[in-house]
């Protein structure tokens, strides 16, 4: 059940009505938890059992850890929980990848094996809820948060339906106080939540699906030759498609949660207004970036053991970001490129030019466009079906003479115009953080913005493709 389906509209209306009709706070949370399992079962009922099992185990593990003061025991319990979570993720998401890679490696050494199709179905959203579970047990181990006294609250933290399948990746420390606080109708920002939901839908349904996806599909179709201009157009369009798709989903999730009185962290803050890749990663998929920082980069040592070691840690962290996104070498290359760009940026800033200090508005805008171009170069591997395809499109991006005619001019014009609008709005309004400024708007601009977004959704009937990030 995706946010852009009519099924979800019916589901949301029913759950919203039921939630506010129930008086007891505990009963409301039980109701939300049951609704969340129903939401998840809409994909595959079997996987509800998986999520219940891992939720139960992690909750028990945190209690066992809390009960004993003996460090070796606590470490064993933590290791078991991590092993079970990563084992489950590894089996469902990476088993085929590792098997294929092993077959390829053996082939290099002259040993031939038929590739085995394991036929494993990927539980939707497993990468998201696994990271949430891991952050909880690790934070309990580190004694950064109190153990969850309520299995109900912990279950809701893992499975609350707005964030369940594609984030934002929550932290128990932020969510737990919200579970303790009963919600009353006036406190719920229903109107604003619904508005955010519609803005997010407009990004997904109108821009991602109808404007950018058709261009991307033509450029990245198997077996086609792409020239210089269309390679750039395809790469930039994919960056914008990924943004509108995922930021749109995140905004929907934040809006829906708000309708139930819960506040989720921001996941995107005008990333294409960033000057440099390092800044972009503080504004793009923020909940994943901060997770990787806290549970991978810093435990590896961060920059504490010198610059060189720090940059190596950064590279490792970004390779993992790539692998988290998908079980394919194209994603690993994408993650690696992000890391390389940031390391290079650190060197340039340190020894050549600290462009982060440019104060001129036009200069910053030009740097933001350059950053968008860098991001789009890496994005080629995110979208490519194979390393070969990624390589040939990347080569075409640096061969100005190469020509192709895959995208009709009308599609290109609309994509370029709206893409420029998205990037331009990030540059111009990137300083507006969160959505609190919306509350200060008078009624008229609020109504206009909602009407525009709603009209974009209503007048964009299409074929309902899945959200890109659901595959992760």
């Amino acid at each position: 059940m995706t946010f852009d389906s009519l099924t979800f509209v019916v589901f949301l209306a029913a759950i919203f009505g039921g939630y506010w009709a129930v008086r007891s706070w505990t009963a409301r949370k039980v109701f939300l938890l049951a609704a969340s399992y129903l939401f998840y079962a809409a994909w595959n009922p079997f996987f509800v059992l998986l999520i219940i099992a891992t939720t139960g185990f992690d909750w028990l593990a945190s209690h066992w850890m809390n009960r004993t003061q003996r460090e070796p025991y606590r470490r064993v319990i933590l290791a078991s929980s991590i092993a079970i979570n990563l084992g489950s993720l590894g089996f469902f998401k990476y088993a085929q990848f590792f098997s294929d890679t092993a077959v390829d490696l053996l082939h290099v050494f002259g040993i031939s094996f038929e590739p085995v199709s394991l036929g494993i179905l990927l539980p939707v959203g497993i990468s998201f809820y696994t990271f949430e579970s891991l952050s909880y047990v690790i934070d309990v181990y580190r004694r950064k948060i109190d153990v969850s006294k309520s299995l109900l609250d912990y279950g809701l933290y893992v499975t609350f339906f707005p964030h369940l399948v594609a984030g934002p990746i929550l932290r128990y420390g932020d969510f737990s106080p919200q579970c303790a606080q009963p919600k009353s109708w006036p406190s719920a920002e229903v109107g604003k939540g619904l508005a955010l939901f519609v803005y997010g839908l407009a990004l997904k349904v109108c821009l991602a699906d109808l404007v950018f996806a058709p261009v991307v599909d033509r450029v990245f179709a198997a077996g086609v030759y792409t020239g210089f201009g269309e390679s750039w157009l395809g790469a930039a369009s994919f960056s914008l498609q990924a943004y509108c798709d995922f930021a749109g989903y995140s905004l929907c999730a934040i809006g829906v949660a708000l309708m139930f009185g819960f506040r989720f962290p921001m996941n995107f803050e005008s990333p294409f207004g960033s000057v440099g890749m390092a800044e972009l990663w503080t504004r793009w998929h923020m909940s994943l970036a901060s997770w990787i920082r806290d549970y991978v980069f810093l435990p590896l040592g961060g920059y504490r053991r010198g610059r060189l070691r720090g940059e190596a840690n950064l590279l490792v962290a970004f390779l993992l970001v790539g692998l988290w996104h998908g079980a394919a070498w194209t994603f690993v290359i994408w993650g690696g490129l992000q890391g390389v760009f940031i390391c290079a940026e650190h060197l340039v800033k340190r020894y050549v030019w600290d462009f982060g200090k440019v104060g001129n508005r036009f200069g910053r805008a030009a740097l933001a466009v350059a950053t968008f171009a860098m991001f789009s170069i890496a994005a080629v591997f995110f979208r490519a079906h194979s390393l070969g395809q990624g390589g040939s499109i990347l080569a075409a991006m640096f061969a100005p003479g190469a020509r192709s005619a895959l995208v009709p001019a009308s599609e290109a014009i609309v994509a370029i115009a709206l893409g420029a609008g998205v990037v331009g709005s990030h540059i111009l309004f990137g300083h507006l953080r969160r959505w609190d400024w919306l509350d200060r708007w008078p009624v008229a601009p609020r109504a206009i913005s909602i009407a525009l977004a709603l009209a974009a959704v209503i007048f964009s009937p299409g074929f309902n493709p899945a959200f890109i990030y659901f595959q992760f």
Binding site: S410, E411, I450
Partner: protein, 327 residues
């Protein structure tokens, strides 16, 4: 809800309602018809209907079946058997037969509308993506979504992708004008009714014939020996279905004039269709052998007019009964 938000929402909903009413009125003024937009979800709903029923009838094929047989009427004619329209416009159906053969829950009657051209191995996978969709993406939530979307499309013109605002803008930039006025009206059970009282009928007919001429120029026919050998594999699918109690009928639907002449020139009946009929475990019916099937006018040489669909459906039901393919 906060009062300011409430006012903003009421104003926005009013504006959108007015826009929707205006757009719908404009489209109807321009003669656009209400029609359901076919897709893999609508097709999957049909597949659900024929699983686990020995009385089920699955209509496989391409446009000639999709725009020729009314499943509801056929069901009525066959005593209430569940009938599913699984034909897909523009895609030959043998891959669908293979998928039904591999699906043990299918134990009914498969009527495969196909000609010798469509039985060539190179066309076998054309419908596979629909089965892949059913296997990997068809869920209860998609079912609900599709039900609601169909209900909207049965009442409103603008809820089809052709009328998406971005599509209109792109067409305007490209100088293509408004979207083409559909001359096929599709119902929720996927049967399509073609309106050949269209002013451009000569152009439609000429275009269809030109397409067929180009097809035969670009894709020369498989030689008869290879074609027959390939169909031995198809026979194993037929046997698989028939061994568990089902039946398979290959039905060569009506064609006329240039289309029939071109098909016959490239796939002579005696060397292809009849040759396979002699060795096939399936029942094979050529429309030319059924007098009732030769009575139809085919305005574009390949499809009947929508008004003839009931008559054609009844003729098909009578044919199935006369051949004792149904009780």
């Amino acid at each position: 809800m906060n009062r300011q938000w409430l006012h903003a929402w009421i104003a926005a909903l009013l504006v959108c309602a007015l826009l929707a009413v205006g757009y719908e009125w404009l489209l109807r003024q321009r003669g656009y018809l209400i029609t359901v937009q076919d897709d893999a979800d609508l097709w999957s709903m049909q597949l659900d209907r024929v699983r686990n029923s020995s009385r089920a009838v699955a209509l496989l094929g391409a446009s000639r079946i999709a725009f020729g047989v009314d499943p509801a009427l056929l069901s009525q004619q066959l005593g209430g058997r569940p009938v599913a329209m699984l034909a897909i416009n523009g895609r030959y159906p043998l891959g669908a037969l293979r998928a039904l053969a591999d699906d043990d829950s299918f134990i009914g009657l498969a009527i495969v509308g196909v000609d010798a051209r469509g039985m060539q191995r190179r066309h076998w996978d054309m419908q596979q993506s629909y089965f892949d969709h059913y296997r990997h993406r068809w869920t209860i939530s998609r079912w609900v979504h599709r039900k609601l979307l169909t209900a909207l499309q049965e009442h409103l013109v603008f809820v089809r992708s052709a009328f998406a605002i971005t599509n209109i803008i792109e067409r305007w930039i490209a100088g293509k004008g408004p979207p083409m006025n559909d001359y096929v009206v599709v119902r929720a059970d996927r049967v399509g009714f073609i309106d050949y009282h269209h002013p451009d009928l000569p152009a439609i007919r000429a275009s269809r014939v030109a397409d067929l001429v180009r097809y035969y120029r670009e894709e020369p026919p498989t030689d008869a020996a290879t074609w027959l050998r390939d169909l031995d594999t198809v026979s194993t699918w037929v046997e698989k279905i028939q061994n568990r109690g089902g039946r398979v009928v290959f039905f060569r639907e009506p064609a006329a004039d240039e289309s029939l002449a071109l098909d016959e020139a490239h796939f002579p009946r005696d060397r292809y269709w009849d040759a396979y009929a002699r060795r096939s475990p399936a029942t094979m019916i050529d429309f030319r052998d059924v007098p009732a099937m030769t009575q139809f006018v085919l305005p574009d040489t390949s499809h009947i007019d929508g008004t003839d669909v009931p008559r054609f459906t009844i003729a098909l039901a009578n044919l199935l009964k006369s051949r004792k393919l149904v009780d």
